[in-house]
Amino acid sequence: MMSNWLTAAVCAAALVTVPMAAHAQDIVIAIGSEPTTLDPHAADDGGEKAVNDNVYETLMTRDADGNLDLGLAADWPMQIDPTTWEFTLRPGIRFHNGEPLNAEAVVFSVERMIDPDLNSEQLSYYSTLAGAEAVDELTVRILTSGPDPILPARMYYFMIAPPGASTHEDFAEAPVGTGPYRFVSWDRGSEIVLEANPDYWGDVPAIDGVTYRFIEESGTRLSALLAGEVDLITNLLPEFMEQVPQAASQRGLEHPIVILNADDGVTADVRVRQALNYAIDKEAMAAVLFEGAAQVEQGQLLGPTYFGFNPAITAYPYDPELARTLLEDAGALGEEITLVSTAGRWLKDREVTEVVAGFWQAAGMDVDVQIYEFDEYLTRLFDRETRAEAIFVVSGNELLDADRSFSAYYSMDGFGASNSFTELRDWIDQARTETDLPRRQALYHEAVAFAHEQAIMAWLLNINNIWGMSARLQWQPRVDGKMFVSTMSVTE
């Protein structure tokens, strides 16, 4: 009886026609978590970013493919000495409350971000930020503690706040920016409403108003989309791309990998590490587990548009025979290998882990899968003394620059690295402060090739972000996953 209902419901869901919302130019977006604050500088929080990306603006921006472009900056920044970058601002821009956007606002924002009292969760993105000084009304210099070649890329995330409004007590609840949308209301636990900014300096957006709803459960978000209550949902499971009125899938920033221990255990032998790469059928994983909404990671923990990407290096092909031969040569057939992972933290983390284990088992290893609760899992990830042979992790890289991923997972000093290759660390350290771009690029190319040859990890996939959309919404998603409402429109 119940199953009939459900069957009927599934059919109905597939055929569902989406009723139009009350105002044709207002849309509703369902996001996975409510912002903890709307202070643009305090939290490292996806919900906050989803909203504030439309309220605030940054000096630099990116196009949909991830190429750096000009934002509030009128011209490309100049590096006037190794630790100083000079930006000029577009003239005549005002914050929603009328304060002018000028050098003072940028200086204020920088100082606010690095103020120890704010204790910002975002500081890890701006670790080199040392201060700022105004040159004139529209020229500002940003100072770094050491040479920082990727400061412009960092500025893509750095929101500029008005000095006046941000000292108000309610600034964290009522944001004031320069962006195409301005804040209207925040009903805690239920929704945040923004409306188009009629005085916006750029093109006036097509959507008049946007309401954000917070729905944690992905199944509930999907129900809301199918019932026509919302226009856009985040993190749609690949399985439902057929069911929703429209689905948009775009290469994202998440790279699931398995760190292999090059120092200890059966994986200390490079042949074993290579074999473990050859043993995994990445294409099948992308096709079946992610239903096509994932790309095979090209053996370097970088997407093709990231700085440092080495086009000469490609993924280890799926070659189970070669894997077996290599394991045999290394005398590792039937040896035990421990694979540590967690569940529920990243998209299909458990599934990916189990599938990897299955491939390794098939290649002739005795795989012991240990899935821990996140807290416990972190203990094992941080413990450099006794590391498992294999640890599953998902690396995200918002700066689209090799430094962030490599410092964490390639360099022997990184928290997620399981190797002692001093040369690899030295290249990465040099590149971090190398301001000559071709030389920096070359250092990363070398690091990528070396790490690939040494198989310091099993590179798996680059997962797509998937959005579910109502039939009327027109939008092209972006590689960085940002949902700029100004780039959306609705038909009718």
């Binding site: 119940m2 209902w5 459900l6 009927a8 419901a9 109905a12 869901a13 569902v16 009723p19 903890t36 604050t37 305090a42 939290a43 490292d44 969760e121 890890s124 964290a172 805690r188 636990g189 239920s190 929704e191 709803r213 917070f214 729905i215 944690e216 459960e217 199944g219 509930t220 129900s223 809301a224 199918l226 019932a227 026509g228 209550e229 996140f374 807290d375 416990e376 972190l378 203990t379 941080f382 964490a408 928290f415 997620g416």
Partner: protein, 308 residues
Amino acid sequence: MSRFVVHRLWQGVIVVFCVVVVVFVLTRLIGDPVRVMLPLEATADQRALFEAQLGLDRPIWEQFLVFVGDAVALDFGDSLWQRRPAMEIIAERLPATLILTFSAIGLAVVVAVPLGILAALKPEGLFDRVVVLVSLIGLSVPQFWLGLLFIVLFAVQLGWLPTSGRGGVEHVILPALTLAIPAMTRIIMVVRSTMMDELNRQYVKTLRAKGLLEWQVVGVHALRNAAVPVLTLCGWELIRALSGYTVVVETVFAWPGLGLTAIQAIERQDLILLQAIVFVTAIIVVAVNLILDIVYKAIDPRIELKAA
């Protein structure tokens, strides 16, 4: 009466104190909030600073005294997750839970009492059997599953009601119904059996013999005598729902109440918020208990002073 209230009040204070002790013991057993809350790249200094902020570096007895003091002052500090006072978050979320609970119990009573009475009129009759069977089924279906079914049926397929979240009256209906069903079935059972007992009593026969209309006999006299056990049960249903039984329904329907907040706090290892929720819930439960006791006593003075 006042002795009774004082006694119950005192008992309530003891209950709340015990909850505080249990919560304290539990939170100090947990793994390591410091590690979970800070980003992966945090330095040892940042960790130490954070530990000091939470007061985890002080001796345990000192931590306990501070904890009890905070509880008395209703101030548990800032939620780790939202970085603002935990009590502020609770103040925002509590109304949602109260609305959901009262609508659900109200709905349960309104539906269950007439059904229970009608079933009792003809014991073992067709209607009675159907009511009993349906009640048993209602009691047996897991709530989270029922909620999912309602969403699929009434929200997605028929499009009558919203799928989730809080808004107008239409948003309350599905979660309240889901929460109400088990309570409803229990109330039906009790109304039915007490009414059957009452209708078998001598006074009912006398009244009928006197020529009173059946609805007067049943609806006025028998019902009045059956009121106390039924009211007691309704009170218990209310307390039970308030004491955390809304968690499942709030999770399924993304209803932003205390229960959902508790689950979110657990997922984010936000112990400060979680302990504040447990504490506030304990106070509410004790308070509602006290109010109900006074109400019962007002209705029926025969109730023992020191109700068990």
